[in-house]
């Protein structure tokens, strides 16, 4: 994978008024105004759909941090969605409904798991790394199937959403939507600050040429591991939101093909671009939804579309809009 010569160009494009920026701004404004549309028309389905879009976009943002900026193609990212979700589900079943307990536990559990997987898989690179993260992700899937007390294969229904003592009512659809939107924007800002910090420069340097980074004295393994853990924790947070959204967790949400969906979102939007994952998540989920309304066999079209993207559209949609170019 080739990278642009000047890494500082990666995060922000040079000009403010470009097609790409206008497009991103339009998408964000549309997302911000969506609940108003839903209230005006009484169409709650669109709100439910887009809440899911926002949550998976947070997952995609976290994957983009390691995959786009760090060059680590992790194929087990859905595991964190599952761990975050199961933390909420298991605590709720055991009678702990407070979000102030559930959410930190979910994030900590995801971070710990990412630490273990990262410490093992970052010893390798390239295809090995893809396969190992894939295998560990699938391990968690089987562990969840084995959890008989928590539903096993059938999954676990969550009867009460996380309780924040009346400050934020997650049962209100509009409130929940805006919470997800706020967390998405916050995570994008967080990634922006992170990749432009000294830490982020080391991560991006390691993607371009790890040997050179080590030669000038950076312990790149530790930096990459830290980045991997941060991404895992962020995706665990998305998992808590997803569990609260669907009121249900099941092993199926961690199946490796769900990790594939997240990879598709990031690659479709544009690798290593701040808003790419959001555009990718919106595009992918709308494409899925639209095609399944159009035909009984949506993946007959979606599959070849992904193949064409892989062959021809390497910069993703961001690249198409002229945001940035990548070999």
């Amino acid at each position: 994978m080739s990278a642009s010569l000047d890494p500082s160009l990666d995060a922000m494009p040079g000009t403010v008024f470009s097609t790409r920026n206008a497009f991103v701004a339009a998408v964000l404004v549309a997302l911000a105004l969506l609940p108003l549309y839903s209230l005006a028309t009484g169409d709650t389905f669109v709100l439910t759909l887009f809440t899911r879009v926002l949550i998976l976009a947070i997952g995609a943002v976290s994957l983009n941090l390691i995959m786009g900026y760090g060059g680590m193609v992790s194929f087990g990212h859905a595991a964190y969605l599952g761990i975050g979700g199961y933390a909420v589900g298991i605590l709720a079943k055991e009678g702990v409904a407070s979000g102030l307990v559930q959410w930190p536990v979910a994030i900590a559990a995801s971070a710990l798991y990412a630490l273990a997987v990262g410490a093992l898989s970052l010893r390798t690179r390239g295809v090995y790394f893809i396969m190992i993260t894939l295998a560990f992700g699938q391990m968690i899937y089987y562990v969840a199937i084995g959890l008989d007390r928590y539903g096993g294969d059938d999954g676990l229904t969550i009867y009460k959403r996380s309780n924040f003592g009346g400050v934020i009512d997650l049962n209100n659809k509009t409130v929940f939507y805006y919470l997800c939107f706020a967390i998405l924007l916050a995570s994008i800002y967080f990634v922006f600050r992170l990749v432009n910090s000294r830490f982020g420069l080391v991560i991006r340097g390691a993607r371009s040429n790890e040997r050179r980074m080590r030669a000038i004295g950076f312990p790149t393994f530790r930096y990459k591991l830290m980045c991997f853990v941060i991404a895992g924790a962020l995706c665990g947070l998305a998992g808590t939101l997803l569990a609260n959204h669907t009121n249900f967790v099941s092993p199926a949400m961690m199946h490796w093909t769900r990790s594939g969906d997240l990879i598709v979102m990031v690659a479709l939007g544009g690798l290593g671009s701040l808003f790419g994952p959001v555009i990718g998540a919106v595009t992918f989920l709308l494409l899925e939804e639209g095609l399944s309304r159009l035909t009984e066999y949506p993946n007959l079209i979606l599959g070849p579309v992904l193949l064409l993207v892989a062959i021809y559209l390497h910069g993703g949609i961001e690249g198409l809009l002229g945001g940035r170019r990548r070999g």
Partner: protein, 305 residues
């Protein structure tokens, strides 16, 4: 003890199956440097072909031959139409493109054969069990799987190590440009190798078809096991894949059969029941993690990499 022998044989049988899948994957990776997530789809297609041809021809043996041939042809067509265009891109795009193919094949199967699964009934003479050692009866068909796979593994060894095609394959794995420069039609070689991998995957699917339900997505979970085999064995090494496949098959099968009992002796019944199923499915991944700590390149790293 007798139960243990039976479980070991089941483990070997799973191992042989994993070898068929892993050999195709590692061959394609070693030579074309391609990560193929649609490999499991070829396994699924093999099983569907076998079930269909068995009904059409009424002969099990003929169904096996036609299904393997069908997978070989599908593999080559797939390579020419789509896979070929992915070689020049990076691994992420391989993953993305072949993931798209996986979605496509699942849907195609649903369109052609419908959402319900198929079953493949064996000829009656394969349904009985034989006494392999005094007191141990084992289903004939499972023995057939082990022997047929061993034969295929032997054949693969001969082809790769002793034939002209195998020489080109090995040369292609160590230096593709040079092989091309020496006047070998490298495009044709790639198509053949991909077809060979597809045929191996299809054969695995055919062999499994009478034991499992032939259904959509049947190749997805076993594909990951094949990846675990490749990681343990070393990428690009067929010998490593063989050894690792048998280890993984044995540990997974025997672990699932005996670990819950072992836990019962150590822990309380309640804890053992909770932990048992999860822990036994984690065993092979723990093995993989251990190997990664001590030998990150796998047990038998291919010499050229």
């Amino acid at each position: 003890m007798l139960y243990f022998i039976e479980q070991c044989l089941n483990g070997v049988q799973l191992g042989m199956l994993l070898f068929l899948l892993a050999a195709g994957l590692t061959l394609v990776f070693g030579i074309m440097d391609l990560v193929n997530l649609a490999h499991g789809s070829l396994y699924m297609l093999g099983a569907y072909f076998a079930a269909t041809f068995a009904v059409l021809t009424g002969s099990f043996v003929l169904a096996v031959i036609l299904a393997v041939l069908g997978s070989f042809i599908v593999g080559m067509v797939l390579e020419v139409v789509a896979i070929r265009r992915l070689y020049e891109t990076d691994h992420l795009n391989h993953v993305l493109g072949t993931f798209g193919l996986l979605l496509f094949f699942n849907e195609l199967v649903r369109l052609i054969w419908g959402p319900a699964g198929l079953t493949l009934t064996l000829p009656t003479q394969m349904l009985t069990a034989v006494q392999i050692i005094p007191g141990v009866y084992y289903p004939i068909y499972r023995l057939v799987i082990i022997l047929a796979t061993l034969a295929v593994a032997g054949l693969l060894y001969v082809v790769v190590m002793r034939s002209r095609l195998g020489m080109l394959i090995r040369a292609g794995a160590s230096n593709r440009e040079m092989v091309g420069a020496l006047g070998v039609n490298i495009k044709l070689l790639y198509t053949l190798v991909f077809g060979l991998g597809a045929a191996l995957a299809g054969f695995a699917g055919v062999m499994q078809a009478p034991i499992l339900t032939v259904q959509i997505g049947m190749g997805e979970n076993i594909l990951i096991l094949a990846f675990v085999v490749i990681i343990i064995g070393g990428i690009g090494s067929i010998r490593g894949a063989f050894v690792a496949a048998i280890i993984v098959g044995l540990i997974d099968t025997v672990g699932r059969a005996f670990l819950p009992d072992l836990l019962h002796r150590v822990l309380s019944t309640n804890a053992a029941q909770t932990l048992g199923p999860s822990l036994s499915s984690m065993l092979i991944y723990m093995l993989m993690a251990t190997i990664l700590v001590f030998r990150p390149e796998g047990l038998f790293p291919a010499a050229s990499r």
